[in-house]
């Protein structure tokens, strides 16, 4: 359990679950239940970056929205600095929103195209009453400087900027209220490699300078390895492995984590991606396999994997895995 100086984690998520009802199919649409989140638990300490990795359908984007109460979870709890986010009143939630922020993947979609940057950044400051009048513009200029944009940017509209610059603006907006924790939902996935590096360096600086905690959601293991201290691997709505970044990447335990790592291309021809991997489609969250969700693709599958879902167990100090290959150490 990760701890802050006061002994408790900054963000504590326990058993978060969410099922969506969707109408799918043609010609007659049927209502199907999509199990986006199934009992997700993790902690984030102050100033620490936790990575959440997984592929499409694993629920990682839903995690951010559920924690921020942009969608309502069906079950589970989210505690931020001891406060129960799900049960907070409207006004308590508003105050909470100053401390918990989010940066989105697509910078073009995340900004109001009709708002000048100065308004986009200053609006939240004014709405929360943090500053008034001229002080708002001062804050806006300080934010722009902090993310590496010139003051002239304040007068402009989002479409006048490149993708990387828009992402900086999105980050500035998230910082405007002085948060303690920022959810970053694939913040660099839509950017070119060279710009991606700029943004990662910026986020790292911000993490150190402002003691910001991050929940960094990504499908790119290289980026997560670089930026985060801890990582949680998700598959079809469940956390399958969690622990410190160096340990997990050096020696992944869960078969899915190993598959992810082996599939991630490395710019080194002598270590080409393992191309002799098994065939088969990934299951969809509409009808997940019984027991351990990964069993149809697992090279080490055993009988009990098909019927019993393995629990997330601590198998080494600060490392947890949900796999029958690694039963909890006998006490």
């Amino acid at each position: 359990m990760t701890e802050t100086a006061t002994g408790a984690a900054l963000l504590e998520v326990r058993g978060l679950s969410k099922t969506f009802s969707e109408k799918r199919g043609w010609p007659v649409p049927k209502t199907v239940a999509v199990r986006a989140l199934d009992g997700v638990s993790f902690d984030v300490a102050r100033g620490e970056a936790l990575g959440i990795v997984g592929e499409s359908g694993c629920g990682k984007s839903t995690v951010a929205r559920a924690c921020l109460r942009l969608i309502t979870p069906d079950a589970g709890s989210v505690r931020f600095d001891g406060i129960d986010v799900a049960a907070a009143s409207a006004s308590a939630l508003r105050t909470l929103r100053q401390r918990l922020q989010i940066v989105f993947q697509d910078p073009a979609s995340a900004l109001d195209p009709r708002q000048r940057i100065a308004d986009a950044l200053g609006e939240s400051i004014k709405v929360h009453g943090i500053a008034r009048g001229k002080a708002v513009m001062d804050s806006v200029l300080r934010l722009l400087d902090e993310v590496g944009l010139p003051p002239s940017a304040a007068r402009r509209f989002p479409h006048e900027f490149s993708g990387g610059q828009r992402q900086r603006i999105g980050i500035a907006r998230a910082l405007a209220l002085g948060p303690d924790l920022v959810f970053a939902d694939e913040p660099v996935s839509a950017l070119d490699v060279s710009v991606q590096a700029q943004i990662l360096v910026l986020l790292d600086e911000l993490r150190h300078r402002r003691r910001l905690a991050f929940v960094f959601i990504s499908h790119d293991l290289g980026v997560v390895r670089h930026f985060c201290q801890r990582v949680a691997v998700m598959y079809l709505g469940r956390v399958v492995e969690e622990g410190p970044v160096p340990a997990i990447f050096e020696e992944p335990l869960h078969p899915y984590t190993r598959l992810l790592k082996a599939s991630s291309p490395i710019p080194d021809p002598s270590r080409a991606v393992a191309l002799d991997l098994q065939e088969g489609e990934p299951p969809s969250p509409v009808d997940p396999p019984s027991g351990c969700h990964f069993h149809p693709r697992c090279p080490y599958v055993m009988a009990q994997c098909k019927t019993v879902a393995p629990a997330l167990q601590e198998v080494a100090p600060r490392r947890r895995v949900a796999c029958h290959l690694f039963p909890a150490p006998a006490t």
Partner: protein, 293 residues
């Protein structure tokens, strides 16, 4: 000062800025023609007291049903009134009724549509059901019923046409709002602690105005058509006020031998409707983000 390697401090942020909407709009020939025609007609309507050669209601028994001549460019009607002056003054009615009815429809319909689309749930279901019911009535029949029940005067006419416009704008605004909700910036506003009203009216509404304006100009044309049709049936602004539909109605009995009574007001209706349609289409092309740039 931040130590990040970022855009060089002197470089002004640029991307390949697409030609602005205004530039695209002015390049569109259709839009410019429509604007010119509409502007001319509006000016004529406003300047009616100075432009009309005669008092539109002044009767002259001696000059009944005169064909177009140097004195009376559009001829005279059964009461000896100058048709040109009546057409000019008729423009005032049509444009006024059309504009206010459309405006009322836009305002009420857009607000309801945005709120309904944003809130979703039960509110949205009720509004959608009501809208579907209202839209199933042909606009003309609706207008007809309302005016027949309420009585034919300018206010009721505007009200009737506005009521037929409201469901159409609810639908447009709602659809656009639903599309906007998919974009991250709505979630971003919620994450920043903004309340529903602020998001709906300061963020969503300005972004859907493009579609609403396009619909508005097309509906303006439809409103004028409805007003003229109602006037033709006899349910418009009551005589002796000159209205285009009314002039046509008066000329109906003399359709063959005094055809100028039907032709000129019809041409006026045609002109304004073409103009508004050109404007609507031109605006749609200019604001369509997927148009080639």
């Amino acid at each position: 000062m931040s130590a990040t390697t970022a855009a060089t401090p002197t470089a002004t942020p640029t991307a390949i800025a697409a030609p602005s909407a205004w530039k695209r709009a002015t390049r569109s020939g259709g839009l410019m023609i429509g604007l010119v025609i509409a502007a001319v007609m509006v000016i004529i309507a406003i300047a009616a007291p100075w432009l009309a050669p005669y008092d539109p209601n002044e009767q002259n028994v001696l000059l009944k049903l005169e064909p177009p001549s140097a004195d009376h460019w559009f001829g005279t009607d059964a009461f000896g009134r100058d048709v040109l002056s009546r057409v000019i003054y008729g423009a005032r009615i049509s444009l006024f009724v059309g504009a206010f009815a459309t405006l009322a429809g836009v305002l009420v319909g857009t607000v309801i549509g945005v709120v309904s689309g944003y809130l979703g749930g039960m509110v949205d279901r009720i509004v959608t059901a009501a809208t579907d019911v209202l839209l199933s009535f042909p606009q003309l029949i609706m207008g007809l019923i309302l005016v027949a029940v309420l009585g034919a005067n300018m206010f009721n006419l505007i009200l009737a046409i506005a009521i037929t416009a409201v469901p159409a704008f609810i639908r447009v605004a709602r659809a656009s709002t639903l599309a906007m909700k998919e974009r991250d910036f709505v979630d971003a506003c919620r994450a920043l602690g903004f309340g529903g009203p602020r998001i709906m009216f300061l963020h969503v509404l300005p972004n859907i105005m493009d579609e609403v304006v396009v619909m508005g100009s097309l509906w303006f044309a439809a409103a004028i058509r409805t007003e003229s049709t109602l006037a033709f049936i006899g349910l418009g602004v009551p005589p002796p006020t000159a209205t285009w539909g009314g002039i046509i109605r008066d000329g109906f009995d003399n359709l063959l031998d005094a055809s100028w009574l039907s032709i000129f007001p019809s041409l006026a209706i045609l002109a304004i409707m073409i103009a508004l349609n050109l404007i609507g289409d031109g605006l749609r092309d200019a604001t369509d983000p997927r148009a080639p740039q």
